[in-house]
């Protein structure tokens, strides 16, 4: 069973590349515990890749129950967040470690 789950992970890792090739890419920056830009417009009904670049020295957690994402991005590094396909609408996200300032919205249209 343990061996089975190891194979599952390997297979999963291999298939990552193939799915990723189809995704459209967007960029987001974390600076002074704020997202820039605070709104990004993405196509509805498609897989989308968002590269989140954390320029602060401290880690941040990109979190959004609406987008079903939870991802830690260490200080001075980049993280890739994959979302969608989304129904048209507004999806809030925030930085869990600085939730009072780090806020943003993904608009799918």
């Amino acid at each position: 069973m343990v061996r089975g789950s190891i194979w599952a992970v390997v297979l999963a890792a291999l298939s990552v590349a193939s799915v990723q090739a189809l995704a459209q890419e967007f960029n987001l920056v974390i600076r002074n515990h704020k997202f820039e830009p605070q709104e990004i417009r993405v196509p509805a009904g498609k897989r989308v890749s968002i590269y989140v670049s954390n320029e602060d020295g401290t880690p941040e957690e990109f979190e959004s129950p609406a987008l079903k994402v939870e991802k830690v991005i260490p200080g001075k590094s980049k993280g890739l967040v994959r979302i969608g396909p989304l129904a048209p609408g507004r999806y809030e996200f925030f930085g869990d470690f600085h939730a009072d300032t780090a806020k943003g919205t993904v608009i799918a249209e």
């Binding site: 590349a17 990723q20 880690p59 129950p65 260490p74």
Partner: protein
């Protein structure tokens, strides 16, 4: 300071609930304290290492390393919980009889402790890595750091108190029911973890099926709130589940029940032990 306390507390309660349940499920097993402590210690050490290599992990597998790591950790915990459930189904009755007969000293309780020790370690590892990163961020932030750090430590203490509360809440259940209650809790725990794992695989881009959202209960019971988080840790509550998550959840419960039934000793042997 209060903000830091809340953030750390929120991260700690999930591992705290799991430790509380494991302690309650293993009441009467000799040396269980040592096993659980080993799990917590190994998990904490692992959390430090994971936090240290967070960037390398995140960048592995085309940027899907963190998601695949979380999915593997959850998957391993589900396997361990299933192993424990099967073992308990086979030997639980003997243990109960032995417990009643000799009071303590159940050496036969050794094997499921390894599985549960791993479950505790994995829970602490997953939640702990975030706490370590958060506290490190505070320390690196300088100036106002010390008061935030104290807040973080108080959050950790509150999480430990919550674990104790879970444990004492569970052990106040009459002994004849506690096996049944912890068995159900462990099954729900495993189902919730499996459903979370498939969402991580989806976020990693590894699977891309049945991603449709079934409902949205976030206006009434947001999963980010304290009650939502407790329910999420306990029964795998998600306010916006996908079809695949619900299917995985139910499939894990069925697999757990089937395993328990298959592992149960045959009727005849059963009668002899009783």
């Amino acid at each position: 300071m209060f903000g830091a306390l809340i953030i750390v507390f929120r991260e700690v309660i999930e591992a705290g609930l799991i430790i509380g349940i494991v302690l309650a499920a293993t009441r009467g097993v000799t040396g269980r304290g040592r096993w659980v402590a080993t799990g917590v210690l190994a998990g904490t050490l692992g959390a430090g290492i994971v936090a240290l290599f967070a960037e390398a992990i995140a960048n592995a597998f085309e940027g899907a390393g963190q998601e695949l790591f979380n999915a593997s950790v959850l998957g391993a915990a589900v396997v361990m919980l299933m192993w424990h459930a099967a073992w308990m189904s086979r030997h639980g009755r003997e243990i109960a009889v032995e417990m009643a007969a000799v009071g303590a000293a159940v050496t036969a309780g050794r094997r499921p402790m390894t599985a549960l020790c791993v479950v505790v370690g994995l829970a602490v590892l997953r939640e702990g890595a975030e706490v370590v990163l958060f506290l490190y961020g505070i320390l690196a932030g300088g100036a106002s750091g010390s008061s935030l750090f104290v807040g973080g430590m108080l959050g950790l203490a509150a999480g430990a108190a919550f674990t104790a509360l879970t444990y004492y809440g569970l052990v106040s259940i009459p002994t004849r029911h506690i096996f049944a209650v912890t068995t159900v809790l462990i099954a729900l725990l495993a189902a919730g973890m499996a459903a979370q794992a498939v969402q991580y695989l989806d976020a990693a881009g590894a699977i891309n099926v049945l991603g449709g959202q079934l409902w949205d209960s976030s206006p009434w019971l947001p999963q980010g709130g304290i009650i939502g988080r407790i329910l999420r840790a306990l029964i795998g509550y998600t306010d916006r589940p996908t079809e695949l998550q619900l299917i995985t959840y139910l499939a894990t419960l069925v697999a757990m029940a089937a395993l328990t039934w298959l592992a149960a000793p045959p009727r005849a042997a059963h009668a002899r032990t009783v």
